[in-house]
């Protein structure tokens, strides 16, 4: 052994090829999560300084509760993004689950706890369909989930049949909007629980690591013995399951649901936006759910701040869009290893570079 390492020790590495060592602190500071927390807090404090109503406990707990359906969806979306996928159907799953559980609750007074396994089960079923199409029909995920979105939304409308969920047992509104501790809404529990559990799964389980492996290099993952098809299907399944949970959270929080739930609010695309703002790359293999969760809160705070500051509410979509653009710009240049200012200074130096090929 010694002979080998000595000879490598003598061999000078080519300039710039040695792996830079970085301290744990540096690595932590570079993390997207920290950046997001700082920005979110800054937005919050600035808005509060302008309009003191923003910092009241009631408003905070409202925002926390209001962000949770999106946060749960964003966690699911992140899982799919990690394997280089995308799921446009989460809004369809959310809507379908919200109305079906909603009608059961409205018509039969079923309790939330009974609805929970139903919501998760429906989500799993709908997610599996996505996964099967992606893997076995080999249709690109964006098209598959576009198609299933159309179908799921159609089914949602069928279930509604021109009715709407309006009167739910009081338990629903309580869980959806009340606090169990001062300023801490019940809604926060499922959101945080899901995020923490999924974060642990992603970091600590073989399945979680195989998501990263497949997203980073599917061919290499296959050669390393990872069952790529199974990993892909399971990613879409878990995303569907979380979308189902998000549907129940949606129902509970808004205390109503109709044929347009999920469609009319832009929760579908906001979930993608949250995942990307949270630092997950659409190109797979990099990112995490904690960032997505914080990004969901960040989007919520920003939108509410826009409203509180007197900008017409119609601009909230534009705010999400602008933040999304900013996030992908930052992602792009973190991935390329250059600083943003460098990147902005001269991406045109070579207008077109090899290696960013389209379809093969």
């Amino acid at each position: 052994m010694t002979a080998v390492s000595q000879s490598l020790g003598r061999a000078p590495a080519r300039p710039g090829t040695r792996a830079p060592r970085s301290s744990a602190l540096r690595r932590f500071v570079r993390r997207r999560e920290l950046l997001l927390v700082i920005i979110t807090v800054a937005v919050f404090l600035i808005t509060d300084a302008v309009n003191s109503g923003f910092g009241t406990g009631g408003y905070i707990s409202f925002m926390l509760a209001d962000a949770m359906p999106l946060a749960i969806l964003a966690v699911g979306q992140t899982i799919v993004c990690l394997v280089r996928g995308i799921d446009l159907s989460v809004a369809g799953v959310l809507g379908m689950v919200a109305v079906s559980t909603g009608f059961l609750a409205q018509d039969h007074g079923a309790s939330v706890w009974l609805m929970l396994p139903l919501a998760l089960g429906m989500g799993i079923g709908l997610g599996v369909i996505n996964g099967l199409f992606v893997v076995f029909a080999r249709i690109p995920p964006i098209i598959v989930t576009l198609g299933t979105l159309i179908v799921y939304q159609g089914v949602q409308e069928l279930i509604c049949a021109s009715r709407a969920v309006e009167t739910l047992p009081p338990m629903y509104a309580k869980l959806g909007n009340d606090n169990f501790l001062p300023d801490i809404p019940y809604m926060l529990v499922p959101g945080v629980l899901v995020t923490v559990v999924v974060a642990l799964i992603l970091w600590r389980t073989a399945w979680g690591r195989s998501l990263y492996a497949v997203g980073s290099n599917a061919e290499a993952a296959f050669r390393a013995g990872i069952r790529v098809k199974w990993v892909l299907i399971s990613a879409y399944t878990v995303c569907g399951m979380l979308a189902g949970l998000g549907g129940l959270a949606f129902l509970v929080h808004y205390d109503s649901a109709d044929s347009q739930s999920g469609l009319s609010t832009s929760i579908n695309l906001s979930s993608i936006a949250a995942a990307l703002i949270g630092g997950t790359l659409l190109t797979g293999g990099k990112g995490g759910v904690v960032g997505s969760f914080i990004a969901a809160l960040f989007l919520e705070v920003t939108i509410q701040a826009v409203i509180v500051l007197g900008v017409p509410q119609v601009w909230d979509q534009a705010a999400v869009g602008t933040l999304l653009l900013a996030a992908i710009l930052v992602n792009r240049y973190q991935a390329s290893g250059r600083s943003l200012s460098q990147a902005l200074a001269g991406p045109l130096r070579s207008r077109w570079q090899p290696g960013h090929g389209g379809a093969q």
Binding site: I142, V151, L282, A318, V320, A359
Partner: protein, 368 residues
């Protein structure tokens, strides 16, 4: 070059040997269009028998099949536009919102006192400009088109909402509503069909018969190789985004004319059917392959499916589900018949059969 002349003596080496396998790729594109035409004919025949009122009181009457065009032809126009972008290997999610925004722009210009036609031209031009900006952002910063146009969708939708204020603008001159909207040529052919036919012909010629179209397809097929061949990849992609936005703007004018009001919330309603039409039409979602006539036929299949089913007594919802199922089903079928990796499939089948009979002796070396 003069010196090439001496190479002229080399005998013709392009052999005309029969090798049907090699023609497969282009064969499948054409076959797909033929299957689409067949599906369209079956669809029309089915509704002809299933729905007595389908053909209406004759060509041009308000309930006729042709008259139904006004319910979907603007979607077809958007499909034609987004098709350019998909050909180039990108995607444009902002087209639906772009139509709405263009409509609102035009309406506000007009209600602000501008001549209606000046307003129309200006609105379409601004839409094209926004497409240009999106294309520039995507190519300059090397960002995924999916995300940039998603952000564009959000921003355009907000802008449209903010601009129109509380009430969507309405009330355009009669001749505008008639010419771009509900009017007909000689009482039979809807004006929109004529507009669509012109756009469709234009799109077909652009993609299949111009230098830009050739570059578009090559860029979509293999962006790197196109760059190495001296094709200006970024310019080509940007042009596709401009075309997409322009077509969306024109569609926005037709929508405003048809309903005599500008609708801001068209993003999801128009985008999904438009992309469905493109993909169902056989254009490879990864770019570089497909035929424009396929998209045209597919947009009619989808367009007439909804009213046909509606008049058949099926609800609107079922019709939209049918579109989703059609999209997934047809792509699954297409994927199976047109799988490019024939060899690896064969390998996999071999491997599978070998696993099934682990004890089976390997084939003799000289079996083949």
């Amino acid at each position: 070059m003069a010196t090439w002349a001496r190479w002229g003596t080399v005998s013709v080496a392009v052999e005309k040997q029969a090798r049907p396998r090699s023609e497969r790729r282009f064969g499948t594109d054409r076959r797909w269009v033929f299957s689409l035409v067949f599906i369209l004919v079956v669809e029309l025949l089915f509704f002809n028998f299933a729905v007595s009122s389908f053909w209406g009181g004759g060509w041009g009457s308000s309930v006729s099949m042709l008259g139904d065009g006004e319910n979907f032809l603007f979607t077809s126009m958007i499909a034609l536009g987004v098709m350019f972008v998909i050909f180039a290997g990108d995607i444009d999610l902002s087209v639906g919102a772009m139509s709405g925004f263009a409509g609102v722009m035009m309406a506000e210009f007009h209600l602000g006192g501008m001549n209606i036609w000046v307003a129309v031209v200006l609105a379409v031009a601004i839409a094209a400009l926004i497409g240009l900006i999106q294309g520039l952002i995507i190519t300059y910063f090397k960002l995924e088109s999916l995300l940039v146009t998603l952000a564009g969708w959000f921003i355009l939708q907000s802008a449209a909402l903010a601009w129109e204020g509380a009430v969507p603008p309405y009330g355009f001159p009669k001749h505008f509503d008639s010419l771009l909207g509900t009017g007909t040529v000689a009482g039979t052919v809807p004006n929109q069909l004529v507009i669509f036919a012109i756009l469709a012909l234009l799109a077909t010629l652009i993609v299949h018969r111009t230098r830009f179209g050739r570059q578009l397809v090559l860029v979509g097929h293999n962006r790197d190789a196109a760059g190495y061949a001296g094709v200006r990849v970024s310019v080509t992609r940007i042009r596709a985004f401009v075309l997409s936005a322009t077509f969306a703007g024109i569609a926005g004018m037709c929508i405003a004319a048809t309903y005599s009001t500008a609708d801001d919330n068209l993003g999801p309603t128009l985008l999904l059917p438009a992309i469905t039409a493109v993909v169902l039409g056989g254009v490879d979602i990864f770019g570089g392959a497909g035929l424009v006539p396929g998209v045209i036929v597919a947009s009619f299949i989808l367009g007439w499916l909804t009213p046909g089913l509606l008049q058949d007594g099926v609800s609107d919802t079922w019709a939209s589900i049918a579109i989703g199922v059609l999209l997934l089903g047809s792509l699954t079928v297409k994927g199976i018949t047109d799988r490019r990796q024939g060899v690896s499939m064969l390998d996999r089948l071999r491997a599978r059969s070998a696993t099934a009979t682990p004890g089976a002796p390997p084939p003799a070396p000289d079996a083949t």
